[in-house]
Symmetry: C2
C-alpha cells in the first residue's frame, strides 16, 4: 500500500517526544542531589523501587509467556486466531512496562534534586519536579506512537490486500491487550505495595505514636516512599500508556470499518491515520506547553498554578484548532465532514475539562463538599466515613452525565447530525466517539507531566523530612504536592472520561473482530447473513444483542459484579498487607530499643520485603480474573453474553471508579483541611477522625479506583483477542 507522506509525522513526533524526554532527563540529572544524607536516602528509595519493579516484571513476565503460548497455540494450532497476535501482544506489554520503568527511574533520581532545588525557591523546586514529570509524559506518548508506527509499517508489509486496513487495525488492538495486561499488573501490584506501606506507616506512626509523616524513626517510611514510586509513578505510567495507545488503536479500527466502503480513493487510510496524526500534533503542542510553564524566581503558589494552567490550557486550545486543520487536510473541505468530525475532538476536550472541574469541586478542600467531610469529624470517624462515601456517590452524577452528553454529541457530530440508526450513521458516529477520546488524551504529554510531578514532589518532601532539612523546604515541597493535587484532578478527569469513551469504541471493535474471525473461518452469521457483507446492525440482530435477551442481561449482571468483586479483592489485599505492615512496625517500635528516640535505626528492609511480598501475592487473583472471566463468558454465553458483560463492567466500573477516586480524594483533603488548623488542627480528635477517613481512602483512590479504568478496557481487549475462540466454541 502507498503510505502517504503525512504518516511520517507520527514516527517523527515519536522521536521528537523521546528526544525531548531525554533532554529533560539530562537537564534534571545535571542538578545537584544535595547533602550526603539526601543522596543516601534517595539511593535507598531508588534501590528499593528498582528491586520491586524487577520482581514485578518477573512475575508479569511469566504471565506474558503463558498467555503468549496460549495465543500461539490458538493461532498456529487451532487456527482460530490471527498469527500476529502473540508478537503484538508482547510488544504492547513490553512498551507499557518500559514507560513505567523510565518514569520511575526519572522520579527516583529527581526527588532528592527537587528537595535540593526547593531549598532555594519554590519556583526552582517546581522546575525540577515538573520537568521530571515531563520526562514521563513525553516517554509515554513517544513510546506509544513509536509502537503504533512501527507495527503499522510491519503489518502493512505483510498483511494481504483483502480487508487490508481492517485486519491491520484489529491486529494492532492485540498490542493494546498487552499494554492493558501490563498496566493492570502495574496498577494493582504497585497500588497494593504503596497503600500497604502508607496505611501501615500512618496507622502506627501517626495514630499510635504521634510522629509526623516520613519520620525516619518510622520503619515503614522507606517502604512508603518506595511505594509512591512503584504505585503512583510506574503504575500511572503504564496505566496512561495503555489509555493513550488504547484510544488511538480503537479509533484506528473504527476508522477502518467506517470508511471501508468509502467511494473516495484513500479515504479509509486517511481515516485510519487521523487519530495518530491528532496525537502527533498533540505531542508538538504538549512540548510547547511544557516550555510555557515558567514563572519569575520569586513566584508564589498562585503564579505557579497560573503557569501550569497556561501550559495545559494553551496545548488544549491549540489542539482543538489544529484538529480542524488536520481533518480539513485529510478529508478535504468539499463536504462538511471535516469540521463535523473536528467538533467531536472539541466535545472530547470539553468533556475532559468538565469532569476535571467536577473532580476538583468534589475533592478540593477549597469547596464545600470536602469541608463538610472535615466538619463531620466533630462527631467521630464513623460520620467521616459516612459523609465521604455519600460525597463520592453523589460526585458520580456530573461525570456520568457529561460522558453521556459527550457520547451523544461526538456521535452526532461525526455522522453529520443524523439521528436515524442506520449502519452508516452508526459506524461514522462510533468513529466520532473514538475521535473524542483521542482528542481528550491528545495533550497527554503535558497533562501527564502535571500529574506525575505530584508524586515526585511528595517524595522530595519525604527526602527532606528524613534528611532533616530545614522545615521551610518541607513546606515548599508540600505546597508543590498540593499544587499537583489540583492539576492532577484535571488529569484524572481526562483519564476516566477517555476510559469510558475508549471502552465504548472497543465494543464496536469487538464486533469487527468477530466478523474477521467468521471470515477467516469461512462461516456466516448465525442467521445466515454473509459475514463479509454484514454491518454492525446485522450483528446485533444475528446474535440477538438486545435488552430482552436474558443472555445479554445475565452478562450485564456479571459485568457489574466483576467491577465490585475486583475492588473487593484489591481492597482486601491492601487490608491484609497493611495489617502485616502494622504488626511489623509495632514489633519494631516495641523490640528495637532506642528507636523512638532516634538512637537506633529501624529495620527498613523488612518493611520493604512485606510490601513486596504482599503486592506479589495479592496482585495475581484480581488480574487473572480480569483475563479469565471474559474468556469463560464467551465460551458459555457467546457473543451476546460478552457484549452484555462488557457493558455491565463498563457502566458499573466507570461509576464505581469515579465514586472511589473522589471519595478517596475528598478524605485525603478533608484531613489536610483539618491539618491547616480547622476543627482543632493537627493532633486533635477531629484530626484523628479524618486520618481514619484518609486511610480508608488510600486504597480507594490509589489501588482499586484507578485499576478499574484498566479493568474495563482489559476485559474488552481480552474479548477482542479471544473473538476467534468465542465464535468457534460456545454453549449458547
Amino acid at each position: 500500500m502507498n503510505i502517504p507522506c503525512v504518516f511520517w509525522l507520527v514516527p517523527i513526533a515519536s522521536i521528537v517526544a523521546l528526544g525531548m524526554a531525554f533532554f529533560f532527563f539530562r537537564q534534571m540529572m545535571g542538578e545537584d542531589e544535595g547533602t550526603p544524607r539526601m543522596r543516601e536516602i534517595a539511593l535507598y528509595v531508588r534501590k528499593g523501587a528498582m528491586a520491586y519493579l524487577w520482581q514485578q516484571y518477573k512475575v508479569v513476565g511469566i504471565v506474558f509467556v503463558v498467555l503468549c503460548a496460549l495465543f500461539a497455540f490458538m493461532a498456529y494450532g487451532l487456527n482460530v486466531q490471527n498469527p500476529w497476535v502473540p508478537f503484538a501482544f508482547l510488544t504492547g506489554g513490553f512498551f507499557s512496562g518500559l514507560a513505567g520503568f523510565f518514569g520511575m527511574k526519572t522520579a527516583t533520581y529527581a526527588s532528592a534534586r527537587t528537595a535540593n532545588a526547593a531549598r532555594q525557591t519554590l519556583n526552582s523546586g517546581l522546575q525540577v519536579a515538573f520537568r521530571s514529570g515531563a520526562v514521563m509524559g513525553l516517554t509515554v506518548v513517544g513510546l506509544a506512537l513509536l509502537d503504533v508506527s512501527v507495527w503499522f509499517l510491519i503489518l502493512d508489509h505483510f498483511i494481504p490486500a483483502d480487508n487490508h486496513l481492517i485486519i491491520i487495525t484489529t491486529t494492532m488492538l492485540t498490542f493494546g491487550m498487552g499494554a492493558s495486561t501490563q498496566a493492570l499488573f502495574a496498577r494493582v501490584g504497585g497500588g497494593i505495595y504503596t497503600k500497604a506501606a502508607d496505611v501501615g506507616a500512618d496507622l502506627v506512626g501517626k495514630t499510635e505514636y504521634n510522629i509526623p509523616e516520613d519520620d525516619p524513626r518510622n520503619p515503614a517510611t522507606i517502604a512508603d516512599n518506595v511505594g509512591d514510586n512503584v504505585g503512583d509513578v510506574a503504575g500511572m505510567g503504564a496505566d496512561l500508556y495503555e489509555s493513550y495507545a488504547g484510544s488511538i488503536l480503537a479509533t484506528m479500527a473504527l476508522g477502518a470499518s467506517a470508511f471501508a466502503t468509502s467511494a473516495v480513493e484513500g479515504m479509509q487510510l486517511r481515516a485510519v491515520l487521523a487519530p495518530s496524526l491528532i496525537a502527533a500534533v498533540g505531542v508538538a503542542l504538549s512540548i510547547l506547553g511544557i516550555f510555557l510553564v515558567k514563572t519569575k524566581e520569586d513566584a508564589g503558589m498562585k503564579q505557579l498554578l497560573a503557569a501550569l494552567s497556561r501550559g495545559t490550557n494553551t496545548a488544549a486550545v491549540l489542539i482543538a484548532v489544529a484538529s480542524f486543520a488536520i481533518f480539513a487536510w485529510l478529508f478535504g473541505t468539499e463536504t462538511n465532514q471535516w469540521w463535523q468530525i473536528s467538533l467531536s475532538v472539541v466535545v472530547g476536550l470539553f468533556a475532559g475539562v468538565i469532569i476535571g472541574k467536577a473532580t476538583e469541586y468534589y475533592t478540593s478542600q477549597s469547596y464545600r463538599p470536602t469541608q463538610k467531610v472535615s466538619e463531620s469529624s466533630q462527631t467521630g470517624p464513623a460520620t467521616v466515613i459516612i459523609s465521604g462515601l455519600g460525597l463520592g456517590m453523589l460526585s458520580t452524577a456530573i461525570p456520568v452525565v457529561t460522558v453521556g452528553c459527550a457520547i451523544i454529541l461526538s456521535y452526532l457530530c461525526a455522522n453529520g447530525f443524523h439521528v436515524e440508526f442506520t449502519p452508516e450513521n452508526l459506524s461514522m458516529g462510533l468513529y466520532g466517539i473514538g475521535i473524542a477520546a483521542v482528542g481528550m488524551l491528545s495533550t497527554l504529554g503535558i497533562t501527564l507531566a502535571t500529574d506525575a510531578y505530584g508524586p515526585i514532589a511528595d517524595n522530595a518532601g519525604g527526602n527532606a523530612e528524613m534528611s532533616g532539612l530545614e522545615p521551610e523546604v518541607r513546606k515548599r515541597t508540600d505546597a508543590l504536592d498540593a499544587l499537583g493535587n489540583t492539576t492532577a484532578a484535571t488529569g484524572k478527569g481526562f483519564a476516566i472520561g477517555s476510559a469510558a469513551l475508549t471502552a465504548l469504541a472497543l465494543l464496536a471493535s469487538y464486533v469487527e473482530e468477530i466478523k474477521m474471525a467468521l471470515i477467516r473461518l469461512g462461516e456466516t452469521l448465525p442467521n445466515g447473513v454473509d459475514a463479509a457483507q454484514a454491518t454492525l446492525v446485522d450483528f446485533m440482530e444475528a446474535y440477538n444483542v438486545n435488552l430482552m435477551n436474558p443472555i445479554v442481561l445475565v452478562g450485564v449482571f456479571i459485568g457489574a459484579m466483576m467491577a465490585f468483586v475486583f475492588c473487593g479483592l484489591t481492597m482486601n489485599a491492601v487490608g491484609r498487607a497493611a495489617q502485616k505492615m502494622v504488626e511489623e512496625v509495632r514489633r519494631q517500635f516495641r523490640e528495637i530499643a532506642g528507636i523512638l528516640e532516634g538512637k537506633a535505626d529501624p529495620d527498613y528492609a523488612r518493611c520493604v520485603a512485606i510490601s513486596t511480598k504482599g503486592a506479589q501475592r495479592e496482585m495475581m487473583l484480581p488480574a487473572l480474573m480480569a483475563i479469565i472471566v471474559p474468556i469463560v463468558t464467551g465460551v458459555i454465553l457467546g457473543v451476546a453474553g460478552v457484549l452484555g458483560l462488557l457493558i455491565g463492567g463498563l457502566s458499573s466500573g466507570f461509576v464505581l471508579a469515579v465514586f472511589m477516586a473522589n471519595a478517596g480524594g475528598a478524605w485525603d483533603n478533608a484531613k489536610k483541611y483539618v491539618e491547616e488548623g480547622n476543627f482543632g488542627g493537627k493532633g486533635s480528635d477531629c484530626h484523628k477522625a479524618t486520618v481514619v477517613g484518609d486511610t480508608v481512602g488510600d486504597p480507594f483512590k490509589d489501588t482499586s479506583g484507578p485499576s478499574l479504568n484498566i479493568l474495563i478496557k482489559l476485559m474488552s481487549m481480552v474479548s477482542i483477542v479471544m473473538a476467534g475462540l468465542t465464535v468457534t466454541f460456545t454453549l449458547f
Copy 2:
C-alpha cells in the same frame, strides 16, 4: 369473561390470611404487658411511632395527590393514558401503607408483651414475638391478594373484550407503582429516621459516655426504639408488600402476553391466574408453617432455630410440590408444559435459598469472613472499614451468579429448553422468570414472620433495659434478636433475588405497555410494523434497543449512576440527621444536671422531633428523583434510552444493594463477635473500632441498601405508567 371458579381461591386465601392475622393479633393482645414501667415505655414508643407514621403519611399523601392529578390529566386531558391508572395507583399506595401500619401497630403492642413473656422462658418470648411477626407476614400477603382479586374483578367487568387480559394486567401494574412509591417513602423516610436515632444514640452514648445500649439515661433511646418500628417494621412491611404484589402483577402481565395467541381455549386466562394461585396456596402453606414453629418449654437456642427452620423449610418444600399440582391442573398434562413451568418455581425457590445461605455465610459471626472483620479491629477502625467494604464487595459474587443462573434456567425451563431466540420462546421464557420470582416469594407469609419478629425482639430488649428488668430477660431478648438475624438472612436473600427477577419481568411489561399505548394512539412502530401484531423482538428492532446504540449505552450509564446517587443522597441524609442528633444528645448530657446519674429525666421528645424532621425533609429528594429521572429519560432518550436506564439501574442497583446489605450486616455482627468476648471484648479498643464499623453499616444495611430494591422496581413501574407519554413526546 367467565371467571373460572379456581380464581375464587385467591380472595379466599386473602381472607383466610387476614383472618389468621387478626387471630394472632388478638392472641398477642391477650398477653400481659408487664409492669407499669414497661407499659409506660411501650406507650411512649407506640405514641412516637404512630405520630411519625401519620406525619409521613401526610407528606406521602401530598405526593400521591399530585401524581394522581398528573395521571388524571394524562388520562383524561391528553388521552395518552389508560383511564384506570389514577385509581389503581391510589389503592396500591393505600394498601402498601396499610400493611406497614398494621405491622407497626402490632409490633408496638408486642414489644412489652414479648419482654414480659421472656421473663418466663426463652420459648414463651419467641412465641409472642414470632406470632406478632406472623401478623405482619399474613397482613402483607392478605392485603396484596385482596387488592389483586378485587381489581381483577372490577377491571374484568369494565374493560372491553379487545386485548382484554393484556389491558387488565398492564393496568393492574399501575397499582404496583402506587405500592412502590409508598414503599420507597416508607423505606427511605423510616430508614433515615431509625438510623439517625441509632447512630446518634450510639456515637454519644456508647462511644463517648460508655453507657450501654437502650439505657434510659440516653436522650435518644426512645427515638431509637421508635425508629426500629418505623424503619424496620413499617418500612419493611411496605417494602415486602411491594415486592410480593409486584412479582405477581408483573408475572400476570407476562402470562397475558405469552399466551395471547394460544390456540387452547381459556389458556391465557389460566396463565394469568397462575401466579396468584401459587401465592394463594403459599398462604395456606405459610399458615401451616407458622403453626409448626413450636418447641418444648425449656428449649434452647438450637431447638428454637430448628423450630423456625422447620416452619420455613416445610412451607418451601410443599409449595414446590404444590406448584406441580397447580400447573398440572391449570395447563393439563397432555403436553410437557406443566412440569416445565413448575421447574421454574423450583429454580426460584432454590435461588432464594442459595442467596440466603451466602448472605448468612458472609454476615454471620459464626463464619470466617465476619470474624476477619473483627480481627482487623486490632489495627483500628480504618482497617475495620476497609475489610468490611472488601467483604461486601466480594459477597456480591454468589448472589449475582445465582440470579444469573436462575434467570437462564427459569427461562429455559418455561420455554421447553429452547435456546433459539424466537418471539414465542422469549415470551414463554420471560413468563418463567416471573414465575420463579413468584415462587421465591410465595411463602412470604412465613418468611416475613421470621424476618419481622427480629425488630420486635430488639424492641422488647429495649423495653427490658429501660424498665430495669433482670439482666436475664435482656439476655433472652438478645438471643431472640440474634436468632432473628440468622433467619432474616434467608428472608433478605429472597427479597433481593426476587427484586432482580421481578425487575427483569417488568422490562417486558414496559414493552408491552408501549405496545398498548401505540394501539391506543393508533400508531405503528417507528419502522412501520403494526403495533398489534408486533412481538417483543420486533420492538427491539424497531426501537434499536441493542448494545451498539449509543442511546441505549447512555441510558445504561445513567441507570448505573442513579443507583449510586440515590445511595449517596440517603447516606448523606442519615449523616446529616445523625449529626444533629449527636449535637442534641451531647447538649443534654452537658446541660441537664444529674442526667448521667439517672436523677433527671432526659428530654426524649426533642430527639424524636429531630429524627422526625430529618426524615421528613430528607426523604423527598431521593424519592422524587426515582420518579422524575425515568420520565425525563423517556422524554429525551425515548424507549431505547429508558430500557438502557432500567438495565443499568437494575444491574448496578442489585450489586450495590447486596454489597451494602452484606457489608452492613458483617460490621454489625463483627461488633457482636467482639462483644462476645473476642479481641478484648466490650469496652476494649477493638470494640470501639468495630462500633465505628457498625455505625457506618447502619445506613448501609437499613437505609440505602434495602431502598435500592424498591428503587429499581419503582423506576420500572414509573416507566411503565409513563409509556404513553414516552411514545407521544420524545426527542430521539
